[in-house]
Amino acid sequence: MMKWVLFSPELYYVVMAAVFFFMSLERQAEPRKLYKWAVILSGVGVLATVLGARLQGTLFFDAYRIDLFSQVFKILIAIGTFWVMLVCSELKGVDERRHAEFYFLMTICTLAMMMLVSAVELLTIYITLELSSYSLFLLVPMRKHDGEYAETGIKYFMIGATASAMMLFGLSYLYGVTHTTYVAEVVKALPQVFNQPAAVLGLVLALAGFLFKQALFPFHIWAPDVYQGSTNQVAAYIATGSKMAAAAMVIRFIGFGNADSGYFVQLLMVLSVLSMTFGNLVAIIQKDIKRLLAYSSIAHAGYMLIGILTMTEQGYASAIYYALAYLIMNFACFMVIIKVADDGHNLQIKELAGLHKRSPLLAMTLMLGLFGLAGIPPTVGFTGKFLVFAAALKKGYLILVIIGMVNATLSLYYYLIVIKAAYLLKPVREYLPVRVDGVTRSLSIALVVLMICVGIFPDRFMQLTEAAAAALLM
């Protein structure tokens, strides 16, 4: 019985999903009512995960591990979900009849991701990963005028299915050479079999599945289209909550391996450099802000990988910190997009013109978020980059860090273009002032305070991430 306490945050989300499931059976649920329920329930969900932060143990024949690492990421995922629910007040992008299903799928997806970060057995990993993917496959095309966006849904599904297939294939090879599906044991067995091509192939293919989720180059092709094609809220969710799960998985997988072997690290380095450079270069020419953020997310996956590939505790801690930072900054940008495009259309950069007049608070939130993404102090994004690079230099990867910094400078160019639109450009036509309700206002202020305070006073958070990284390696 006591064991089920370990599972309580996930159980909470099961109940929450059930609530929305029954609501979706109603003929016509009132959108306002649904929104209120979603906010309250996901808010309590954050509480539930926070209360479960200190839980420790294993479940389901050791296939499911609860430690500080998994619990920290569960909190991050819960926060991301809560924030996305908060900005669903004007869910105009989705047909009203489907709102209940929308919340239902979001909850299921959140649940799946939470289970994913705790999964330490190959099949469990695969099942939870698929559960979250399938919810997203449904969420992405769920948009008014779905004819236009059906392409996105199909594309995402096809690419996602291919990635899953590759991953499953890789996992089967891993099982074949190591005769176990427990990640910890696979990893223990790997060094002896690493001379077999099958083992390397298996590892690389399995990793490809995770990197697909994280949209790391060359597994990124879905990201820009999906960000653009899905509703702003779903895009925000993919960019925040889903990114957290992907990051956790990559860290966990590589962390378990701790295979500080030359060419594996070199492979990761190459991926990281390509991802940063490609993401930043292509982002420069984007006109649609969601596409721009999609390419920037590819670049950020690269930065995060720098911390991970150091294979040190400090490196993992820095990557966790980076994930936290990324969650805050990226959500800040998406919140502004959602509020400015309150009828749910795809926002172009030039439509931000004059935002500083239409809503000074949103303009400031956007500016800080973008400066954070560019890694300018005193924001949390800077501290994240600083820690990641510090970890890399401890291992002596000087060139990698220089490339990373040059990339940060590159990225500043396109972030500045957006900031310029918000602060400098004269609007081509008259836009109405953006309606900022109380929730948005307090959320904006909270995000601004978080971005600056977590950036300037990182000590507390670093202790937490270090403890989480230590739990990971235990």
Binding site: L393, L398, V401, M405, V406, T409, D459
Partner: protein, 491 residues
């Protein structure tokens, strides 16, 4: 006794905090009270002047070393400290910052568009500048350094003039490319030093291996050097100066560029003495090219602000040359030059700002004969020009003298070249003065009134400082020397 009490009061943090409080207060003032914004800005700027003067005056020269130290742990696991202190090198820089901010606020008294945002950003910038000058922890030096850079973008792009968006973007990207070298440099030094402290002096005491110093120094030198306008990375500087509004040009050329030189001295040279020895030759070469190049290119300019921009490149070259000599006199002169060039450029831009506000042109051929219609406004520029060419009784005379004496000793050929180019720079300054202010009366500008007293005040203060330290150079050189002598002996 007084200084004993002061020592326990966190006066440096107070200076820094006051700028952040000013920023917050300005942001809370309603949009429709621009007058109040200006008054608040001026009030806090005056507070900064008073506090930094207090620090300067109560700095104990005989004792030397770091004073007003505040140091406590900020982030445990990687060893970041909140570490602020004053020595002979940064004490003058604090005054420079305070004075330029104060006069800058006064200069922008007539600003009308988006007043609140302008002063808020200006305070953010100045917070960064103060932060760099007083921090002795590498993490904070970098944080404040970047904080001082990015407000430049909106400041130039919103309130700027000629080709403002281009200028703003170029400047921002150049400077942040510089910081893309500084951050790896800092982290490299930290990692080699064991990875548990960012304290500048602890790292210095560790004595890094020679090959590390060589790599780290070149990164730090180039990174900070971009901001210091080192040739060939100076091209952002004239463009940025021309595009920026007056007060921003003042702060930027007057203070911000000094951050670059200060960074080379404080971070690069302190941490990597051997690296400095290895690269000093290159530093001297680039500095000399900068001096000569700035003077010659300045000769060909027709835009007043471009003239000043290129003269800045030339003058910052003198700072670089002084640092590269690695002698007491050279570094003394370099720091003194940083100070006096800061005040002088502020005066330059401030003078041009007034002329531009009234005539709406800064093209030399269109002006001419201005001294007839506005003698006082012209006088400010002419005084600054005299200072620029190093006329005795002006503070930069002493600074340049010290640098050139030691440069000729250490690098005879380059030193002599630099001295000769001073003649060229005198030529171009006098040419500008002659074409702009003398010559036939220009009918177009007949109606323009001379500087009113309120607007003349900031310029008078700047002139006063230039002449004062020109007459009593020891008042500043003694302080600088108290830090430079032990510094050079540790090289």
């Amino acid at each position: 006794m007084a200084s004993m009490e002061l020592a326990s009061f966190p006066i440096l943090s107070t200076i820094l905090l006051s700028t952040i409080v000013a920023l917050l207060v300005i942001m809370l003032i309603p949009e429709d009270r621009p007058k109040l914004v200006k008054q608040v800005s001026l009030g806090f700027a005056a507070l900064g002047v008073v506090l930094s003067l207090l620090v300067y005056v109560s700095y104990d020269v005989d004792k030397g070393g770091l004073q007003f130290v505040e140091r406590f742990l900020w982030v445990q696991s990687i060893g970041i400290y909140w570490f602020t202190a004053v020595d002979g090198i940064n004490a003058p820089m604090l005054i420079l910052t305070a004075v330029v901010l104060f006069t800058g606020v006064l200069t922008m008294w007539e600003l009308e568009t988006r007043v609140k945002e302008f002063f808020a950003l200006m305070y953010l910038l100045v917070a960064g500048v103060y932060g760099v000058f007083m921090s002795m922890d590498l993490f904070w030096i970098f944080v404040w350094y970047d904080v001082s850079l990015f407000p430049m973008y909106p400041l130039i792009a919103i309130w700027g003039g000629t080709r403002k968006e281009y200028g703003a973007m170029k400047l921002t990207l150049y400077l942040l490319a510089g910081s893309a070298l500084i951050l790896p440099g800092i982290l490299y030094v930290w990692a080699v030093g064991g990875g548990h402290t960012f304290d500048l002096f602890e790292l210095q005491r560790m004595g890094l291996p020679a090959h590390v110093q060589r790599i780290a120094f070149i990164m730090l030198y180039l990174g900070f050097g971009i901001l210091a306008g080192v040739w060939p990375f100076h091209t952002w500087s004239p463009v940025g100066h021309v595009a920026a509004p007056t007060a921003v040009s003042m702060i930027h050329a007057g203070v911000l560029m000094k951050l670059g030189a200060y960074g080379i001295l404080r971070v690069g040279m302190t941490l990597c003495p051997e690296g400095l020895g290895y690269w000093a030759d290159l530093m001297a070469l680039l500095a000399t090219i900068g001096i000569v190049y700035g003077a010659f290119v300045g000769l060909a300019q027709t835009d007043l602000k471009y003239v000043i921009g290129y003269s800045s490149v030339s003058h910052m070259g003198i700072v670089g040359l002084g640092l590269a000599t690695m002698t007491v006199d050279g570094i003394n002169g370099a720091v003194f030059q940083m100070f006096s060039h800061g005040v002088m450029t502020a005066l330059f831009f401030s003078a041009v700002g007034y002329i531009y506000d009234r005539t709406h042109t800064k093209m030399i051929p269109e002006l001419g004969g201005l001294s007839n219609t506005m003698p006082v406004a012209s006088a400010f520029f002419i005084i600054a020009a005299f200072c620029g060419v190093g006329v005795p009784c002006m503070s930069s005379f002493w600074a340049e003298l010290l640098v050139f004496i030691s440069a000729v000793k250490t690098y005879p050929v380059r030193g002599v070249l630099a001295v000769i180019s001073l003649v060229v720079s005198a030529l171009f300054m006098l040419r500008v003065v002659q074409k702009t202010f003398y010559g036939p009366r220009n009918e177009r500008w007949e109606h323009i009134p001379d500087v009113p007293l309120a607007l003349a005040t900031p310029r008078i203060i700047l002139v006063g400082i230039l002449v004062f330290f020109g007459l009593f150079p020891r008042l500043i050189l003694d302080v600088i020397q108290s830090a430079v002598v032990p510094f050079v002996s540790s090289l």
